[in-house]
């Protein structure tokens, strides 16, 4: 199956300094593929080059080297733009227009007729949950509402691929949940979604694959499950009805003991030695084991580890 | 609401304070009065450059200033003396000094500003105190206008009229009237006027023809009024001559000059008190010469070259 989006050694240098002599490499030979129909998370700390990458894909910025293809055609092609949607980071639209007028205007740029424009605008505003406010000028909108308008304008042309820069930024939990559900429903319809974020929990719940960018370089790319599997860091054992003294003894080998209240304790145990041995000790102390689970490394841990390694220059 | 009121009152107090301080400063250190007779710019070429594409508008501004300058000087002078003597020399004071520069600037900014040229033709040449008394400058201004618009018969006619009336140079005047009559669209009274001027320049009759022609053509208001004024003065001259004839005839008959009009009325020579066309009575002055009352608006009467006076 052809990739929905691919980059080959995509590179961007910015000339800096007073005479523009030196250059700063914002993106260094990025090569990745996004498959059709998947939700792909593009992660990295601030300044890693995520926005630069997305702008290169939209030809808002021109590459110094390498190339990118979207839906089988060169990025920036007009036919490609007709089939995709883009949401910039911190979107700013026209103060003087109402939400409705903005969507109608953008629909006009796609070439839709007058009636079709109005229909689409109306439908999309309903989808993102903007009701009566659609007649207000955008200067009166809150950040969260602007973000919703931003999502709406990406969908005007029923795109096959969405490129979103920080789609959750500025949203309250309700808003994030709404955006999440929009993305999932789009995926269910067969749309490919490529978004950048530094909200890792969103990536965890939405993405099938992620890539991590740090200082312009790709440091990791792959299935979440692969990245996070076999990466158990330890065990968490929750015991109940254990006398204090027993806990002290049992928890001597634990990394951390947290008192949960109600006579319950949470023990964080290392991978080695295997915790089976402890089970008998707990039973001997007259306590109960409520649960025993492996502690998986979170994406955040992985992220921090990878980025730290990158920044200190050691391979992970 | 209280806060707003407080701030409002404070603002009013502060504003009042500024007024008080300004008044005090004005008393103590008055700013020098704006010298409104200054031209701001003396070079026409510089003015043209400075005002770029707004030349015509700048010309309008200078035109307004010209009128105000002239009007101001005129008012000042008529306030000073009501019995000003007729002075043929250029204005002794500087009252009209700026008139020519202002008109020159106006017409450099807008070379087709007809009314400015024609205003200059009259009021630059008009003797003090009604004008600057400088007919040469009037001619210079008109020649500038003719350079810009060689077919403008009005300027040539005005030049002729300046030579006729103020310089008493009837040969030149006739030449200008002839030249004017040859311009396209020139009115048909110019040619006979040229002929008359040449033949009897200065003659009261030819003067009347000229002024009547000016009065009848569609001219600016002030020029019409000027023409009417001139015609009344010519009429007064005629009347003076008639009255003088009556006085002289009486003197010849009785051997004595009449002391006043009553004498003549009693003698049956005159039906009643003689008054000029504006209603001011004529006077018998020293040497039994009939003359215009100094209070008359027609004063001073234009001078006539001796050769042009109708024979007694």
């Amino acid at each position: 199956m052809a990739a929905a989006l691919s980059t080959f050694d995509l590179t961007k240098d910015y000339p800096i300094g007073f005479w523009r002599r030196r250059s700063c490499r914002a993106l260094d030979r990025l090569t990745l593929d996004v498959d059709q129909g998947e939700v792909f998370g593009f992660l990295g700390p601030n300044g890693a080059g995520k926005t630069t990458t997305l702008k290169l894909l939209m030809r808002l910025v021109f590459p110094t080297g390498g190339r990118a293809e979207i839906l089988g055609r060169p990025a920036g092609d007009l036919d490609v733009k007709r089939r995709i949607g883009y949401l910039p980071e911190n979107p700013y639209f026209y103060d003087h227009l109402t939400a409705e007028e903005l969507l109608v205007y953008f629909a006009g740029l796609f070439g839709y007729g007058a009636a079709e424009r109005r229909k689409r605008a109306s439908r999309l505003l309903d989808e993102v949950g903007i009701g009566g406010e659609r007649r207000l000028q955008l200067r009166k909108f809150s950040k969260g509402m602007l973000q919703r308008v931003g999502i709406a304008q990406t969908l005007i042309n029923d795109p096959e691929l969405l490129i979103l820069d920080e789609p959750m930024s500025g949203l309250d939990p309700l808003g994030r949940r709404d955006v999440r559900s929009v993305i999932l429903s789009l995926r269910d319809r067969g749309c490919t979604v490529f978004f950048s974020s530094h909200v890792l929990s969103d990536a965890e719940t939405l993405c099938s694959r992620v890539a991590i960018l740090a200082r312009g370089r790709l440091v990791a790319c792959g299935r979440l499950t692969e990245i996070l599997a076999f990466r158990a860091r330890g065990w968490e054992m929750i015991v109940a009805d254990a006398p204090e003294t027993a806990i002290a003894r049992i928890g001597s080998g634990a990394r951390r003991v947290v008192r949960l209240g109600d006579g319950r304790y949470s023990l964080e145990l290392p991978l080695d030695p295997p915790p089976a041995r402890l089970l008998s000790e707990v039973a001997a102390a007259g306590a109960q084991v409520v649960s025993l689970n492996p502690i998986r490394e979170t994406l955040e841990d992985y992220f921090v580890e990878q980025v730290a390694a990158r920044q200190s220059g050691t391979p992970s | 609401m209280n806060g707003v009121g407080t701030i409002g009152v404070t603002m009013a107090a502060l504003l009042a304070g500024t007024m008080v301080v300004q008044a005090a400063r004005d008393r103590r250190y008055p700013l020098p009065p704006v010298n409104d007779t200054s031209l701001y710019l003396t070079s026409g070429a510089a003015a043209r450059r400075l005002t770029v594409s707004l030349n015509a508008l700048a010309a309008d501004v200078y035109w307004v200033r010209t009128l105000q300058y002239y009007g101001g000087a005129r008012r000042r002078l008529s306030g000073q003396s009501s019995a000003a003597e007729f002075r043929p020399e250029p204005a002794p004071s500087s009252d009209y000094d700026r008139l020519y520069p202002l008109l020159d600037l106006t017409t450099t900014l807008d070379p087709r500003f007809t009314v400015a040229y024609r205003f200059g033709a009259v009021f630059l040449a008009e003797p003090y105190p009604s004008g600057a008394g400088q007919p040469d400058l009037a001619i210079a201004l008109l020649e500038k206008g003719i350079r810009e618009q060689p077919d403008k018969w009005e300027y040539m006619e005005d030049a002729g009229f300046v030579y006729y009336w103020y310089r008493h140079d009837y040969t030149q005047a006739a030449r200008w009237f002839e030249r004017a009559s040859q311009a396209p669209e020139a009115p048909n009274w110019l040619r006979p006027l040229a002929a008359t001027t040449l033949a009897q320049g200065g003659d009261r009759r030819s003067s009347k023809i000229m002024w009547t022609a000016i009065l009848q053509s569609a001219e600016p208001d002030w020029l019409k009024r000027s023409a009417e004024h001139r015609l009344l003065q010519l009429r007064a001259l005629d009347e003076i001559d008639q009255l003088q004839a009556a006085v002289d005839a009486y003197a010849t008959r009785t051997g004595r000059f009449p002391a006043d009009w009553q004498t003549l009325i009693r003698a049956g020579v005159l039906p009643g008190l003689a008054a000029d066309p504006t209603g001011a009575p004529y006077e018998i002055g020293a040497g039994a010469r009939v003359r215009l009352s100094p209070q008359s608006p027609l004063h001073p009467l234009p001078s006539e070259p001796a050769a042009a006076r109708p024979p007694r």
């Binding site: 910025v61 910039p88 911190n90 740029l109 931003g150 | -």
Partner: protein, 268 residues
């Protein structure tokens, strides 16, 4: 071409909602107050002065709009970031340039049209009750159709200035753009001097430079027929045709330049 129209309508709508058209109120006040005061002052010249004032004000207000909106046409969008969502749509970059130019053209045309109508209204009022014989002696009648020739060339000049401002807008900050555009407008009006520089300057190098500038910098003085029209001289149709053709070619060149600069920019 449809996106160009959509963009143009958006620019027009933005200037209307930014209350640009309120300048018309100021214009109306200026002419009416001016004509009233003038009527008191000027020995029968009020019609000429009203025409001068009306045409000059149309030109000046128009220049202000052309410059101050023109320099922001592109730079405002880039600065605020709205450029990202627009260029993500299936339009060429030069479509944006064309659309912006067309939109400001519409605004200016409407502005100038309303001002011309207001001028004619004031002239009608001033002319009320004046003897036709007197009017015939004037250089030009009060309600002279020739005024429209001057208004047309004023609009053409504004369109050239807009194109200049647009070029600067594609790469420069508003302050610098305003200064440079204004400077070009002034130099453009001094074309006559540049052409005849040999009367003033002796150095041949300077003369060459000045001549070069004359041919390259837009000659805006040729669009100024206000004085002629007010004095009743008709502008020949050939003159109108040639100056408008010059403007069209110059504007096309500027738009090409703006498109070139704009299409190579990175929008970080």
């Amino acid at each position: 071409m449809r996106p160009v129209l959509a963009i143009a309508v958006n620019v027009f709508r933005e200037s209307v909602r930014d209350k640009v058209l309120y300048n018309l109120l100021l214009f109306a006040v200026v002419i009416m107050a001016g004509s009233y005061l003038i009527g008191q002052l000027t020995a029968g010249q009020d019609v000429k002065i009203i025409k001068d004032l009306g045409l000059a004000a149309t030109q000046i207000f128009g220049l202000f709009i052309a410059i101050f909106i023109g320099i922001g046409l592109v730079s405002k969008e880039v600065e605020r970031g709205s450029i990202d969502s627009v260029l993500a749509k299936p339009i060429e970059r030069y479509h944006l340039i064309l659309g912006k130019y067309l939109g400001l053209t519409l605004t200016l045309a409407l502005n100038v049209a309303i001002m011309a109508a207001a001028l004619y209204a004031v002239l009608t009022y001033v002319r009320w009750g004046i003897d036709p014989a007197i009017e015939r002696a004037w250089d030009a009648p009060a309600l002279d159709a020739r005024l429209l020739q001057a208004v047309l060339l004023i609009l053409v000049e504004l369109l050239v200035v807009t194109a200049i401002a647009l070029v600067f807008s594609t790469f420069s900050t508003p302050l610098l753009s305003a200064a440079l555009t204004f400077a070009l407008v002034v130099v453009g009006h001094f074309s006559g001097d540049l052409r005849n520089v040999q009367d003033v300057v002796k150095s041949s190098a300077a003369q060459w430079a000045a001549r070069g500038v004359y041919w390259v910098v837009p000659n805006l003085a040729q669009f100024d027929v206000k004085a002629q029209v007010v004095h009743g001289q008709t502008v020949p149709a050939g003159y109108l045709a040639l100056t408008i053709a010059y403007a069209a070619l110059y504007v096309a060149m500027l738009i090409a330049l703006a498109s070139l600069v704009f299409s190579r920019r990175d929008f970080k």
